[in-house]
Symmetry: C2
Subunit: 135 residues, 2 copies
């Protein structure tokens, strides 16, 4: 039996771009990605954005909306990119994906004043990371 998630065969461009993001210690922006993959034959913004769109769709990467940047998902529980949470350092811009059963349970069960629930959300926490706090 196959595992339940992320069993997609990436295409050439998708794999090149995923590998780059996955190796990066920080979120990468689209044109920085483009610059870095030009030697591999990916020459145009659209090639990057198309791969990014697909990678986001299948949950291999996430977009940090407030930064227009992309990071690889290392949170096996967040399956298909529907429910994401991050902490973002406002000084060094370090981004960490938050994997908290309590948080995801709370948000998945949250009902607005109309009694409406949401299976999809994105949460970005801002503050100072450990390193930047001590400085």
């Amino acid at each position: 039996m196959k595992t339940m998630h992320k069993e997609h065969t990436l295409t050439k461009n998708q794999q090149i771009i995923f590998d780059l993001i996955d190796k990066s210690p920080e979120p990468m922006k689209a044109y920085s990605i483009l610059f870095n993959v030009q030697k591999k034959g990916i020459k145009a913004p659209l090639q990057v954005y198309r791969a990014l769109d697909k990678l986001v769709e299948i949950g291999k990467i996430h977009k940090i909306e407030s930064r227009n940047a992309f990071i690889a998902c290392h949170n096996s529980s967040c399956r298909v990119a529907k429910a994401t949470a991050f902490s973002i350092c406002e000084i060094c811009e370090k981004v960490t994906e938050i994997s908290s059963a309590g948080l995801s349970k709370y948000l998945a069960n949250f009902k607005d004043k109309d009694g409406m629930k949401y299976i999809k959300y994105n949460l970005e926490f801002f503050g100072l990371c450990k390193k930047c706090k001590v400085k």
Copy 2:
């Protein structure tokens, strides 16, 4: 005694742009704002972005990051733009600011795995609004 928040005297440009956003039934994008205030003498993107920056800073409006759009704050409890939550309809793009004591308390008290708390956050829920759900 003065009330505790949002007691800023807006400048001319800030007031013009706030009024426009405040009257709009939906989030407005910067260049749409620009188009709409040109008859009032605001001619350049920077004039719009500067006013938007200030209005966000003082909490009169919020930016919907996933949409690059701005809405007026109608949530008296969210004081200075540090802690925001929205629901966004993925069909009609209707955006509603969520004002939930329980939610804001939960998020303000949330600790990540390093025990870190965050006073600033932005949460965007995605789903279908009432109208779009019945269609």
